[in-house]
Amino acid sequence: MKLADALSYVLVLLLIISCFLFPVAFVIWTSLRSHGAIVSGLILSTDYTLEHYYNVLFMPGYAFTKAFTNSLITSIVSTILTVVISFPAAYSIARFKTGGGTLSSSILLIRLLPPMVFAIPISVLFQVANMRDTLLALILVYTAFNAPLDIFVLKSFIEEIPIELEEAAIVDGCSRLQLIRYVTLPVSSPGIIATAILTFIACWSEYPFALLLTIRHAVTINVVASQFVTQAVVKYGEIASAVVIGMVPTILFVMLVQKHLVKGLTLGAVKG
């Protein structure tokens, strides 16, 4: 029995390391190997370099720095806007049951539909409005399509706040808006922060809309990196370092909100 336990532990350990750690370690390792070592297949070569990072970030003609900035701006602004419109909606649905089941279901349905279904007509519409390839267009779309996630997560956070807290405030003469501002909002701040981080990760990871809505000015890190793969096929080290640069912010954030992740990922529909 003891042996079987040890054996199963080793097997699970191997599975986890080879499937989940290995890819990440591989791309970091590749980003640090010299081009010569990669091309000649010298696995054991100790010829390591930061050259690829330097090229990706500072070589003229590469759009990574701009794309990184664009991703950062769109993700931060969309996150703030999404939370700002989602919190009142979540409060209303949680406390007043506004819209009943229909509103909740339609919001959930939007979360389940493929973005590509909307992305093509939206990109044509933005083209017509002369707004394609602007950060504003991306921010608008990200704000809208992340609202379902935020509303559901915030709703489940608000529902967990004891109703007595609000009743006490009303007895003390608070109006409903004052109550939301001075009681519910501060009490839900941990939930709001967790939701904001999840939204940031979703914006940072978004690809189909970014691909269709940007051309040159508003390109995001995912778009530039995926174009780079097809254009610079053999610049393996630079491709790897672009991936590493793009994955650092989200990996950091995921580790930060690990505890709250479950609620966010299931839209708070499951009591975890």
């Binding site: 890819p23 696995i43 406390r95 509103l103 493929p114 590509m116 995926s226 995921v254 975890g272």
Partner: protein, 289 residues
């Protein structure tokens, strides 16, 4: 009465934005789908009725990508749920380095799917990739990972499984930990084997959570675009074409916006039907109001 008005006022901004980015595009997609819309004749496109829909239905790429998407969804979802479930049950015990291991499991999920696709494309690359290197030097095998249907499908499914099993795991793990201990302890006292415990106690108790994760994974797998578009672009030929890639290619590679819009509407209807089935299952299970 006044509370109701306030309630409506509070949901208004989010609802207006949400419906304007979904309703208008859907109406516009319908408009495009009944016109012969190409890049050359965009605004002077003639009305063609249902012609584009008939063209979609006689398009072999459409039927192929529909089959591909459905098969892909069924295969990756079932493996991810199974694997995630067993990992979740396995982790529900004192383990050496449990916290670190859980953080490691979550890594792939923390990477943007497009970037993860690029990463995997490198991993399977003939020159820079370690997987071909290991196969070649250890097993004397040379595999064209994306050269035929079976290997391309398996490789892409493997990549999806690596990226999304963590999602299933983390949710089921939280659910396993929140299970009531009494029935589990009672079963152990009564001498239930590990398998009996899983089969008769844990699975029934976890059913609502398994159901909701399955609905989410099915819907997400149906819309697969990022990783496959980055890795193969739907190719070689149409070998790895999902529905999302198909509608994208019809519009932006072929320039046939009318055809793409008709395919989009059909895709939309298929997904709505499946999503409604999922939502109904969730409601029946009492998970959704």
């Amino acid at each position: 009465m006044k509370e109701r008005h306030l309630g409506i006022l509070l949901v208004l901004p989010a609802t207006v934005i949400l419906f304007s980015v979904t309703l208008f595009p859907t109406i516009f997609a319908y408009y495009m789908s009944v016109h012969r819309m190409t890049l050359q004749h965009f605004w002077s496109a003639p009305f063609v009725g249902l012609e584009n829909y008939f063209r979609v239905l006689s398009l072999s790429d459409f039927w192929y990508s529909l089959k591909f998407s459905l098969l892909y969804t069924v295969v990756v979802t079932s493996i991810e749920i199974t694997l995630g479930f067993f990992l979740a049950v396995y982790f529900d015990r004192p383990l050496k380095g449990r916290k670190v291991l859980i953080s490691i499991i979550m890594l792939p999920m923390a990477i943007a799917p497009a970037l993860f696709g690029i990463l995997m494309k490198l991993m399977f690359n003939d020159v820079a990739g370690l997987i071909p290197y290991i196969l070649k030097n250890l097993f004397k095998m040379e595999v064209g990972f994306f050269s035929n249907f079976n290997s391309a499908f398996l490789t892409l499914a493997f990549i999806d499984i690596v990226q999304w099993t963590p999602f299933v795991f983390i949710i089921l793990y939280a659910a396993v930990q929140a299970l009531p201990r009494a029935p589990i302890d009672a079963a152990i006292v009564d001498g239930a084997s590990k398998w009996q415990l899983i089969r008769h106690i844990i699975i029934p108790l976890l059913k609502p959570t398994i159901l909701i994760v399955t609905v989410f994974r099915v819907m997400d797998a149906l819309k697969t675009f990022d990783t496959i578009n980055v890795i193969t672009g739907g190719g070689p030929g149409n070998l790895t074409m999902t529905l999302s890639i198909l509608v994208y290619k019809l519009a932006y590679t072929r320039g046939d916006f009318g055809l793409s819009a008709a395919a989009t509407i059909i895709y939309f209807l298929i997904v709505i039907v499946i999503a409604n089935l999922g939502l109904r299952l969730l409601k029946k299970g009492g998970i959704l109001a």
